[in-house]
Amino acid sequence: MSEPRTSLNKTKPVSVKKVILRVLLYLVVLDICVITLYPYFVMLTSALKSRAEIFSIDGTILPITAVWQNLIDVWTLAPLGRYMLNSVLIAGGSTIIAMICGIPAAYALARMKFKGQTAFLGFVIISQMFAPVVLLVGIYKVMSILHLTNSIVGLVFINAAFNQAFTIWLLRGTFMSISPEMEQAATIDGCNRIQAMFKVLLPVAAPGIVTTLIFIFINAWNEYTVALTLISTESSKPITVGINIFNGYNMIEWQYLFAASLFAVIPVVILFMCIEKNLVSGLASGGVKG
């Protein structure tokens, strides 16, 4: 690349080496993709097999005949629609509450100076250390005092609270990357802080806000441990806990478990792919800048 005009003998070995490296790169990337996708391949193919085929000693890689009926049957064999609705309510509710609480807090941290700022930020960071699972006995007690055990509302608040750190983290980074001058101009024009935030800052910060929103939604959608502990009524379970209905003590209905899993996984994977690029830069700026 650097000396293309020297003799042929000199450039040839370089380009051969380059071609080999190039081919190697593609092979490695292909391998990585195949390995990463393998569990999803297993999930999909098994979801389309009959029960007999799954448990047969003479196993198959692809289903002999695809039983698409499995994908329809799961909706009647289990209250899958109800689980999905619960998951949407829990994830949606958590996202809304996390944003309502998180946006003003991130705004204050990005735009104001106040006593206890470091302490607050410190608590936000430290709170990440306490995963809900470690606090479960305490959470359970709080929930029984508030009469929120076995309730979707309880899960909404817990998910919102445990996602505050990320919300504030990502949004603070977003807000700090936007110059405060426009808001100041708006304030001079007679807006108060709240109006300035809504009219000026939030529209500019929209990409960061959407990223945060989707990220919290996914986290809450994927949450398993707290829901497993707090929810015992079948009709209140989110999908992550609900699909265990196919995972009985005596036998596992793998084909149905995976068929239901597909419905739980696909929307989230698509959402995640949408925000992947923004999320990473957000994590980096929020994270590295503290």
Binding site: M112, L136, T225
Partner: protein, 315 residues
């Protein structure tokens, strides 16, 4: 700001002073209104549970969860003296270190690969993100299906490809199960490391590499002298967060083995879950939680000092 309104009205001095003082107080109090919702939310659902856990750890707790009285270090002694505890502690250590170290190394390498320009890079990045987006309980279910001896997908695949002649028992011992759980943990942790590092890599100014090339530096020299030092902040963040996440990770082990047989695959979180909700020993479970905090606190405080210091530098 206060002076502006001075010449217009000539009211009593005290009134004006009060007004100004009130305004000043309001200004000073304003930030606290902004953070109040967040503080209240976290106080009720994080701080209060923390307080409860600590109280229960030092209390005599009834089977129904009622606090009967002060127990001192009783719960801790019962927990520590249990013969299962050293195994659980060792498992937690092995689990956390193995998953974090291996996924950090592999995630870093993967990020270096994906940072190259090649056709289909976008697709490859989208695929790599899959395990990050999938809920752990489903990911773990698939893995337990894959490694099943009788009808698992891995045996089927290898038999059909002619690589093995007879079905292999992939999980002959508890240790083997635990190794698979670690593998699953690594698999789902790699994307996070990879993408954090990737964001660090993309912020490196390419002129560094150009200058190094002019100076005759090779690939490895560039890697160790430029790349690694410059992505170190990203690596630190991802490592510390991963230590916390992996240490507290519950669904993978719970789905694949539930910590069985005989606590051989338990980590602190699965162990405390069983204590609390299977054995109704909430006091002991709380004690295990506190032990977990203490271990993590060391990591978290190191992390906090690091990030706050960084924040001061950029502020």
């Amino acid at each position: 700001m206060i002076r502006r309104e001075n010449p217009v009205k000539k009211e009593t001095k005290t009134q004006k002073g009060n007004e100004a003082a009130r305004k000043k107080m309001l200004r000073k109090a304003e930030p606290y209104f902004w953070i109040a919702p967040s503080v209240i939310l976290m106080a009720i659902f994080i701080l209060v549970p923390i307080v409860f856990v600590f109280r229960m750890a030092f209390s005599d707790v009834s089977k129904t969860g009622r606090i009967k009285g002060f127990a001192g270090l009783g719960n801790f002694l019962t927990v520590v003296r249990n013969s299962a505890f050293p195994i659980v502690l060792k498992n937690t250590l092995v689990w956390t270190v193995a998953v974090v170290v291996i996924s950090t190394v592999l995630g870093f390498i993967l990020a270096l690969i994906l940072n190259n320009k090649f056709h289909g890079r976008k697709i490859a990045r989208a695929i790599v993100v899959f395990p990050w987006a999938t809920t752990l309980v489903i990911q773990a279910s698939v893995w337990s299906f894959i490694i099943n001896t009788d009808y698992g997908a891995l045996n089927t695949l290898l038999l059909r490809l002619g690589i093995i002649k007879n079905a292999v028992n992939w999980t002959p011992t508890a240790g083997a199960y635990f190794a698979w759980e670690i593998a699953c943990g690594i698999f789902v942790t790699i994307p996070f490391v990879c993408f954090t590092v990737l964001s660090g890599l993309q912020s490196i100014d390419s002129t560094y590499y150009e200058a190094a090339t002019v100076d005759g530096a090779g690939y490895w020299a560039k890697l160790f002298k430029i790349t690694i030092p410059l992505v170190r902040p990203s690596l630190t963040v991802s490592t510390v967060l991963n230590i916390i996440y992996v240490f507290n990770s519950f669904p993978i082990i719970w789905t694949i083995t539930k910590g069985d047989p005989a606590n051989r695959t338990d980590t602190l979180v699965t162990y405390l879950y069983k204590l609390a909700f299977y054995n109704s020993e909430q006091g002991q479970a709380a004690a295990v939680s506190v032990i977990g905090f203490v271990i993590l606190l060391v990591c978290a405080s190191a992390y906090m000092i690091y990030t706050l210091k960084k924040g001061d530098e950029t502020a």
